[in-house]
Point group: C2
Chain length 336, copies 2
DNA sequence: GTCGCTGCGACACGAACTGTCGCATGCCGG
DNA sequence: CCGGCATGCGACAGTTCGTGTCGCAGCGAC
């Protein structure tokens, strides 16, 4: 019963977005495997019917014709999006624009468009949500590097399907070079996406910034599986000079009252405790990982935090402050 | 032609997710306004047909029955999700978990589930994407506060539809109190969501952290529209003690080579220039906004950055460093 | 109880969905 | 240049199945 409607929905999900395309023949095969065997003629008819209701485009420049969703079509999700979800999508978009290259965020664009559409339908058009929502980030917006969407897609495919990649890579300094990579993982830091991969038959693993690839070809060759490789362990060993140290240390630090207060809202850990120190400051105690990020975050408070424990961290912070102060005691260097 | 299939798709989008429900009658009305008038009997039949293919649930505890999508149903988007997009969704989820309260991220969960499903179908199951993607955040993960999803939804509705809210609010310190709020905007900072609103007939605008509402009722009363109110201006005037200053200043700063290098990848501004200073450091010049966040970000580099221009910022940084160094020259206070 | 609403089985009519056939068109190889 | 092959599409006929209507039953409310 109602095979038609279900088949059409399935069909709409099988049709890709515009740069890519699918032929009637291919659709027929995929539908058959999904349990909707039907004749090619019927599929042709269905496509014509659907294109009257959805932004489907048919590229008839060569045979067989290629069907796609319009490049500009927004997503339509089943079930439809409710307004709280739509607002969350819009907030997420704002965040992600600072965190990911534009072409990556672009991939989610059809969903963000759907969210905006939902909001416009919900609110009385005049009061646009855009005037109503603001995000105050902690750091100034850094501009994510530009990543070529085609190449990015091929890198992702290679990683997910376990295929080798033939690439050309231009390091930050030095000559462009060809590599034959077995993808092992993906890592993000500071809006830069890195492919973690091994070259040819070497066992060591290197990282490549996605935006510095100048050519990427996806091969059918299965990628080498490095037996003992573990992305977390690799990062911890310093793959990103991140030197994650999993051992939690007991942080004790005094924050000036005004800045420390936000730690009451967004605690460092579930086991965090805060007490009023005698000197008007807030003393925060929490088990945290002893990482680079911790230092980064603590230093950002400048003189508004004083680390008490652990001793080695207090010493580090003291030295850093001392060196920084010395920096400014010297005469200002001549700007270039 | 093919009215049926289109109507069914429309129907699937009108059915809400499980806590909410829709009756056959209501569906009929909504469908009619969308240009699909049909009899109630047909809708009943359609629902039965669809529930064989989609996770629809029918709550038959009372009449009229209420239809919903299962609480656990993943989203299905038209067109379907391709793997690069799916991977982006998964990365986005990881980011957002640090940025937004759990219950807010929860709203996007059906979409993330769809993304994971897509990835599992794409890769050969064994090599799960979760072992392959890592995100290295700059700051230690702060735990976003818990927000009640119901209250959050009502706050969003009030904001978007311009309705007043009757709320109870428990400030960080002090007594719980009742307010009658006209929502003016939403602001996010540090994983905390703030409603910016005016109370009763007062013209001044106050902020309320979403997670500190203890009760929220959405009324039908239209919200007061504050004539000259502008969220950006309000933030700039110090609504968040953010003191945004729109005037860009010419930042000149020297970064240690290793840390400064990442600015080549993720520049501060499109008009940023970088040159090798004589002393082995990188001198970065860029027009940036003179904000709190800028200071926060610069301080995080500690002694690895020296601000040269503008003069007032150099002075500030110098003073902060000096005060921080003094902090650590004193004997360590006794931890509590 | 009785009225009204709602769900649902049954039924009959007709719309429209489907496979088949045949022709036209375009591409490719000989 | 020509014939074979693949693809798109109009036409047609059979029949499936989608639809409105009707009637009955269960459930609440008054």
């Amino acid at each position: 019963m109602s095979r038609t409607a279900i088949r059409m929905i399935e069909m709409l999900r099988l049709i890709p977005r515009e740069p890519r395309r699918i032929s009637v023949g291919a659709l027929g095969e995929r539908l058959a495997t999904l349990g909707h065997p039907t004749s090619a003629r019927t599929i042709q008819r269905d496509l014509n019917t659907l294109s009257a209701h959805f932004p489907l485009v048919c590229d008839d420049r060569d045979h067989p014709y290629g069907w796609s969703w319009s490049r500009h079509a927004q997503a339509r999700s089943l079930p439809g999006m409710d307004t709280p979800t739509a607002l969350t999508f819009c907030m997420a978009e704002t965040y992600l624009r600072d965190m990911l290259p534009a072409s990556v965020v672009e991939l989610m664009q059809p969903h963000f468009r759907q969210a905006r559409e939902t909001l416009e339908a919900a609110g009385n058009g005049l009061l646009a949500w855009e005037d109503k929502v603001r995000i105050l980030p902690r750091h100034p917006p850094l501009l994510p590097p530009e990543v070529d969407p085609e190449r990015m897609a091929r890198v992702y495919e290679g990683l997910l399907r376990g295929r080798r990649l033939e690439v050309r890579y231009r390091p930050r300094s030095g000559e462009e070079r060809a590599y034959y990579l077995s993808p092992q993982g993906l890592a993000l830091r500071d809006a830069v996406i890195y492919l973690v991969a091994s070259h040819r038959d070497y066992d060591d693993v290197v990282m490549f910034a996605l935006h510095r690839f100048t050519a990427v070809t996806l091969t059918d060759e299965p990628a080498r599986h490095l037996a003992g490789f573990d992305l977390d362990a690799w990062i911890a060993r310093g793959g990103f000079d991140a030197h994650e140290n999993d051992a939690p240390v007991g942080l004790v630090a005094r924050f000036d009252a005004d800045v420390g207060r936000h730690l009451l809202e967004t605690p460092l850990s579930e086991r965090q405790t805060v007490r009023e120190a005698g000197d008007g400051r807030l003393e925060v105690t929490a088990p945290v990982k002893d990482t680079h990020q911790l230092r980064w975050w603590l230093r950002a408070f400048g003189p508004q935090v004083e680390v008490l424990e652990p001793a080695h961290l207090r010493r580090e912070m003291a030295e850093a402050a001392e060196r920084e102060a010395r920096l400014y005691r010297r005469p200002r260097p001549e700007a270039g």
